[in-house]
């Protein structure tokens, strides 16, 4: 038997970033076993591993590479996502310094190790060319996240959100898997190329299996990226999780989910995509509207940002509804801006968080007087999330809306614009609390210098990207051109 067709050195070199990250995660755990007491060293090793993985991911960019007999595909699109995950991971590690200790948990090597494992899972999701690999990546990601969400073992809220996330996540996994099984049954293969061939040659076993399969896969994804009506878990989980984990949770997995969804629908089910457009339309409209309206009545900052991220998922699904090169590049741009801004906002929330305080909108009253720079950064983040003109958020929303308009989805864009207007109210409520109230703020912010530097950098970057988005636009267009 000839197996050289399955394993070549090119295959191993292609997954070098994953291998490096695995080795790093194991080294981090080893350091913890050896009782290396300074948590800074462990975070440093993890960050180093991420850098190295990023460097190796660059090397593989270029032409499309098909690895492991068609299981993985490396192209500009997947490399773009690799970089997004690595950036999010690095920022999360930087913002996490000292946070767990503040919440009364011993600093442990498991924390960075789990983040690294989650990143490996996400990389597999957007490199996958086979339902089996998507499944493996999704589960590696989910299992790491369940533990991260419940990381504060002695905190009741963290326990509770860990359990909720686990039960609903596992439930969603069941749907995803049944969808994958039925798709396999319909097409006779789990490989995307094979599925396309089966659909175009009309060798589908039964349309019922195929459509039921796609529907169930979609439900699984909808749970994971929190689309209405499958979003019920997200506010509770976001609120109870350690705040730095919440930042990670509402950015990277969402990017991975949308990335995998784009590949799945653009590669495997591309020929029957038009039959799903109505469902995407409804999902998009419901998600953005219900997410926004629920965010209006929240008093807890984390819950507010949770519902805001639900509504952003509604905007993003609009790009998948359109599914052409312009809209995919708009989705990628939106994901970058949304992820980085959310990480920055959650970093400030995690700095402000004290025992029982710092999470309520009222706690931020008069903060601008004590911390003018941090308040300015938070303002930029909120304006960017709302989509105000001088920030990158405006460019992101504009790109997405114009891609949808050009394909004739006027009704949906009108709903989206109305939603953007509604969202201004709750984003600005936080800003108003910081600036307009005369009260003295009693919040004591605790942060590390490096974290604050990066919060500032993100804020500056959002303004620069808002004025001259050209460079990032070029990157996302190139990435989108390899899948569309």
């Amino acid at each position: 038997m000839d197996i050289s067709q399955f394993f070549t050195s090119a295959d191993l070199f292609g997954i070098a970033p994953e291998i490096i990250l695995t080795v790093t995660a194991l080294s981090v755990l080893t350091l913890e076993m050896l009782h290396v007491s300074r948590p800074g060293i462990i975070l440093m090793v993890a960050a180093l591993g991420l850098f190295l993985a990023g460097a190796l991911a660059i090397n593989t960019s270029g032409d499309e590479q098909i690895l492991f007999g068609g299981m993985l595909v490396l192209n500009r699109f997947s490399v773009f996502f690799d970089f997004l995950y690595i950036t999010i991971g690095l920022l999360t590690l930087i913002f996490s310094q000292g946070y767990l200790e503040k919440r009364g948990s011993a600093s442990r090597g498991e924390y960075p190790a789990l983040i690294l494992f989650a990143i490996i899972g996400m990389m597999l999701m957007t490199r996958a060319n086979d339902l089996v690999i998507v499944f493996l990546g999704l589960e590696l990601l989910s299992l790491s996240l369940y533990i991260l969400v419940g990381f504060l073992r002695h905190d009741q809220l963290s326990n509770e959100s860990g359990l909720k996330y686990l039960l609903l996540g596992a439930f969603a996994t069941g749907f995803f898997l049944f969808g994958a099984a039925l798709t396999y049954g319909a097409a006779g293969t789990t490989n995307y190329n094979g599925i396309v061939t089966a659909i175009t040659n009309n060798t589908i076993l039964s349309d019922t299996y195929l459509f039921l399969g796609i529907g169930l896969l979609l439900i699984g994804f909808a749970f994971k990226v929190a689309l209405v009506p499958f979003h019920m878990w997200s506010p509770d989980v976001y609120q109870g999780a350690p705040t730095t984990v919440t930042g990670f949770l509402c950015t990277a997995p969402k990017a991975a989910g949308f990335g995998a969804l784009i590949i799945l629908f653009n590669r495997a089910f591309v020929d029957i995509h038009y039959q799903w457009q109505d469902i995407f339309w409804i999902l998009s409209a419901m998600t953005m509207t219900i997410g926004n309206i629920s965010a209006l009545i929240q008093h807890n900052v984390k819950r507010m940002l949770a519902f805001s991220s639900v509504s952003h998922a509604g905007f993003l699904i609009m790009g998948i509804l359109v599914l052409n090169e312009t809209s995919i590049s708009a989705v990628l741009f939106y994901l970058v801006v949304y992820s980085v801004v959310n990480l920055g906002a959650f970093a400030i929330v995690s700095a402000a968080e004290q025992e029982e305080r710092g999470l309520n909108l009222k706690d931020y009253r008069g903060l601008a007087a004590q911390h003018p720079w941090l308040s300015a950064a938070m303002t930029i983040f909120m304006l960017s999330l709302a989509g105000f003109p001088p920030t990158a958020g405006f460019v992101a929303k504009f790109g997405l809306f114009s891609a949808a308009v050009s394909q004739g989805y006027i009704g949906l864009v009108i709903i989206a614009v109305l939603n953007t207007l509604i969202s201004i109210y709750y984003y600005l409520r936080l800003v108003v609390n910081m600036y307009m109230q005369k009260e003295e703020s009693t919040l004591i912010l605790s942060y590390k210098m490096l974290a604050i530097v990066f919060v500032g950098l993100i804020a500056i970057m959002m303004i620069i990207l808002g004025i001259t988005p050209g460079y990032l636009l070029e990157i996302v267009t190139e990435a989108a051109s390899t899948v569309a």
Partner: protein, 101 residues
């Protein structure tokens, strides 16, 4: 006698539905967890059925991975449930509701 594919898939769908109903209507976290396991095993049955129908091993390989995942999920799940039980002395999900606005 060969069991037709439709019968296997029908059984798998019934088991899956029982699992879904269990998740939706049971209140004990451990029972919900068992219902999720039932869903995963229904998937395994469907995969094995299709695998035999197509005479390919793809589905069986998938089953191995699903089994491993189920074990990993149980391990993580029980650990979280134990941590919760230590703090709250309950696994009834109706009582686990600290975060309602």
């Amino acid at each position: 006698m060969v069991v037709p594919l439709e019968h296997v898939i029908a059984l798998s769908m019934i088991l899956f539905s029982i699992g879904v109903l269990g998740v939706l209507f049971r209140r004990n976290a451990i029972t919900i967890f068992m219902s999720i396991e039932l869903m995963l095993n229904a998937v395994n049955l469907a995969l094995v059925g299709f695998s035999r129908y197509y005479n390919s091993v793809d589905g069986q390989v998938f089953v191995f991975l699903v089994m491993t995942l189920a074990a990993a999920e149980v391990a993580v799940g029980l650990a979280i449930i134990i941590a919760l039980y230590r703090n709250r002395q309950t696994v009834n999900i109706d009582e686990i509701n600290l975060m309602k606005n």
